[in-house]
Symmetry: C2
Subunit: 414 residues, 2 copies
C-alpha cells in the first residue's frame, strides 16, 4: 500500500509502514514473528507505543496479552477489538496485524467523527495466536479463557527443547502467573476481531467486507511411520521397511478422502530420521491438518485417512501410530451479536455484507466459549494466506477500518 | 562383542571398546560422527594415539586424512590399508571403524607372526567419507585424487550455512592447503579397504569374508517441487498448488521404476518450506539416491522417475527442477590385485572367498581411478547398515582381521 486516503487512511498507512520491517525475512519476504522472540518483543513495543500515543491505558495481562483501554475497564460491558501480531513461519503481513492496525485506525476514525463512548473500549494483541513455536495455536486466549491449563502450557516446548515458561522468562515475563482470567472476561460485553479473509469467498461475491458465521471444526494429527533405517545403496528392495513409502501413500490418501468428503486435509510439516540422502529412514513423522464444515465430515475424513495409512503400512512392515495433537470443535459465533453487526453494516431490509464460514482458527473462536464474539473479514483477492504472497487491496483495508469503526460506534457509543 | 580370542582379538576388542562411546547418541544408540565436529576430533585423536602407541609415524595430509606409517613412505610401492571413522546420521558402529580397527589389529597380528616387511605399510583414516555434513561423500579421497577441486570443496556448506573451509578452520585445520596429492598416491602400490558388508550376500552364501568385484554406478539427484504456500484450513482443494502431493507421487514412482529396472532408488532426505502444520508448503525438496548394476539401468531408472514427477507436477501446477548433485560411474576394482587377493585367501584350485559387487560408495572406489585398490567385506548377518542396528559377529570380525593380515603379509612381506 502506498497512497493515502483521508485521516484514518493516513494513520493506517503510517502504522502499516512501522510494522512492516519487524521480523521480516529478507530472503523469503515472509514474516517470522514467533512467540517470545526478539521479533515478538518488537511487535509488542510497537503496540504499547501506539496505545500510549493515543492516551490509552496500557496493560499487560497475566497471560502476556496486551490491552489498550479507553475508559474504565471496571465499568463493565466493555467493547473489545483486536487480533494478534505473531505469524506462522514465513507468513504474510496481514494475518493478525491487519486486525490490530485496523482497531487503532478505527479508534482514530471515531475520534475524528467526534463519537462519544458510553462503554469502555479496549484494543488487544493476543499472544502466540499462530502457535508457530510451541505447536499449539491461540495460547494467549486459551489460557485466559481457561481452555488451556497452566500445567498444560508449562509442558509446551519448542523445536529446540525450550519450554514455554523458559521462553517467557527469557523474554522478561513471569510464567508463574499464567492461568484463567475469568474476572477480565466478565467485564467484556463483546469482542470483535477483524481479519483478512483466508479464502476467496468475498472475492467471488464481490464484497470488500464480510461477517463470520462459524469456524469449521479442525484438528491436527501426528502420524508416526516407523520402519528400519538401512543403507540406501545396498539394501534390496524386498528387504526394506521404508516408512517414506507409507507416508507418500498417506499424503495421497488424505487428498483423496478430503475431496470425497468436501473437507480439507493437508500434510504441510514433516520430520524424518535420520534424514540422510543415502539412508532409508527409520522414522517419518507427518502432521495432518484437517477441517470440515461439520464434525461428522471431519471424523469421516480422518478415519478414512487413518484406514488407508494402516492398510499400506501393515502390508509393508511399517508401524504407524496416530496422535491427535489438537482439536477445536465447530464454533458458532454469537447469533445476536452477528445480527447486530449485520444491522449496523446493512439495513433491516437489505443485508449489505455477506456472512461466511471459515476453516481458520482465531482467538475470537476460543473466546466465543466465554463471551459474545464476532468477526469481520476483509477481502483477499487471491485467497492466499500463511504465505508472503498474502495480500489485500488498500481500499478494502480502509473499507474494513470504516466497517469496524461503524461496528464499534454502534456497540460502544449508543 | 564381549569375549576375547587370541592376541589380535584382545587388541581388536580393546580398540573397539575405546572407540564405542565417541559420538554415540544416547537416545538413538546411533553415531553422529560428522566431519570437523567434536566427535570427529575425538576419533582423530584416537587414531593418532593408536598409531603412536605402535611406534608408527603419524602424518596428517593436506586434505585432513590421517596416515600411520611403518617404514619409509618415500621408498615407494607402499601397501596401504584403512577406511574412515565418520558416520551417517545415527549410523552404526561398523561402517568405517571396522576397517580402521581391523587394520591396526592386522598389523598386531603380523608382528605377532614375526612378519618382515619388504615394503612400507600405512594405515589410513580418510576424512568425511559419508558426506553427512556437507552432502558430498568421500571428500578426503576425492580431494587427494583430484576428483574434487579445492574450489568445489570450498563451495560446500552444511545445513547451518557453515562452509567446509570455515568448519576446517574451527577444527584447527588449514583449509587453504587442500587439493590433489598425486605425489602421495604415486608412492602407493596397493590400497586395501576392509568394510562390513552392507547387504546380505555373504550371509546368503554362508561366508565370513568376501572380496569386492565392483561398485555399482550411483548418484544423488535433488528434486525441487515448487508450489504455492497457503493456509491449510481455508484454501479450497481446487485452488491449491501443493508440492507435497507431487513429492508423494514421485516417491512411489521411484520405488516402482527401481523395481522394474532391478535397481534401487530411495528418497531418504527431505526439506520442506515453511514446514508448518497449518501451511500448504511452498517448496518440497526431496533427494533421490539411486544405483544399479550398470549405467544403462541407472539412466533408465532416473529418467523414468523424472518423467513421472514431471507428468504429475505439470498436471497440478507444480514446478519441478532436477539437479544431479553427485555421480560416480561404475568402479571395477583392479583385476590383478583382486586375483592376487583371491590367491592369497584361497588356493589356485579353489576360491575360498566369494567375489561380489556392491551398491555402496567407498574411498577405495574413489582411489581406484588413481591406484590399484581392492576391498574385503565382512559378513553382516542382517544386511542392515547406516543404522544403529548394523552388526557383525565377533568371530566374523576376527576372521576379517586374519584375512586382512594374510593379504597384507602376501603383498608387503614377500
Amino acid at each position: 500500500m502506498t497512497a493515502s486516503t483521508g485521516a484514518a487512511g493516513a494513520g493506517f498507512l503510517e502504522m502499516w509502514r512501522d510494522l512492516r520491517p519487524i521480523g521480516r525475512n529478507r530472503d523469503s519476504g515472509g514474516y517470522r514473528r514467533y512467540a517470545w522472540t526478539a521479533a515478538d518483543a518488537d511487535c509488542r513495543a510497537w503496540f504499547r507505543a501506539q496505545a500510549e500515543s493515543r492516551g490509552l491505558t496500557y496493560e499487560l495481562d497475566r497471560n502476556g496479552n496486551q490491552w489498550a483501554w479507553l475508559g474504565d475497564p471496571d465499568a463493565g460491558d466493555a467493547v473489545v477489538t483486536g487480533s494478534h501480531l505473531d505469524s506462522v513461519p514465513d507468513g504474510g503481513a496481514f494475518d493478525g496485524p491487519l486486525g490490530v492496525v485496523s482497531s487503532f485506525a478505527a479508534l482514530d476514525e471515531l475520534r475524528h467523527r467526534g463519537a462519544e463512548f458510553t462503554k469502555p473500549l479496549a484494543i488487544t494483541n493476543f499472544g502466540d495466536e499462530e502457535g508457530a513455536r510451541f505447536g499449539l495455536a491461540c495460547v494467549g486466549s486459551r489460557l485466559t479463557s481457561g481452555v488451556l491449563t497452566p500445567e498444560q502450557a508449562h509442558a509446551l516446548t519448542d523445536a529446540d527443547g525450550v519450554s514455554l515458561p523458559q521462553a517467557m522468562e527469557r523474554a522478561g515475563y513471569d510464567p508463574e502467573t499464567i492461568g484463567p482470567d475469568h474476572d477480565r472476561l466478565a467485564r467484556i460485553g463483546a469482542f470483535i476481531e477483524l481479519h483478512v479473509e483466508q479464502g476467496r469467498a468475498l472475492d467471488l461475491s464481490g464484497d470488500a467486507v464480510g461477517i463470520a458465521s462459524s469456524i469449521w471444526p479442525h484438528g491436527r494429527w501426528r502420524f508416526d511411520f516407523r520402519g528400519e533405517a538401512n543403507h540406501a545403496g545396498t539394501t534390496r528392495l524386498v528387504d526394506r521397511r521404508d516408512p517414506m513409502l507409507s507416508y507418500a501413500e498417506t499424503v495421497l490418501a488424505a487428498r483423496r478422502e478430503a475431496r470425497l468428503a468436501g473437507a480439507v486435509a493437508t500434510f504441510g510439516k514433516i520430520a524424518v530420521e535420520p534424514n540422510g540422502v543415502n539412508a532409508i529412514p527409520s522414522l517419518v513423522r507427518g502432521w495432518l491438518d484437517s477441517r470440515a464444515a461439520d464434525q461428522q465430515a471431519l471424523d469421516d475424513t480422518v478415519t478414512a485417512i487413518e484406514k488407508a495409512a494402516r492398510a499400506y503400512a501393515d502390508e509393508h512392515g511399517i508401524e504407524v501410530s496416530l496422535t491427535r495433537e489438537s482439536f477445536t470443535p465447530v464454533v458458532e459465533f454469537d447469533h445476536a451479536l452477528r445480527d447486530e453487526l449485520a444491522r449496523i453494516l446493512g439495513t433491516d431490509q437489505e443485508l449489505k455484507v455477506p456472512v461466511l464460514g471459515t476453516g481458520a482458527g482465531h482467538d475470537a473462536g476460543i473466546l466465543a466459549s466465554s463471551i459474545p464474539t464476532a468477526m469481520l473479514f476483509v477481502r483477499n483477492p487471491t485467497g492466499v494466506s500463511h504465505s508472503p504472497a498474502e495480500s489485500a487491496a488498500e481500499d478494502d483495508c480502509l473499507a474494513g477500518v470504516h466497517a469496524l469503526a461503524d461496528v464499534l460506534e454502534g456497540l460502544a457509543c449508543t
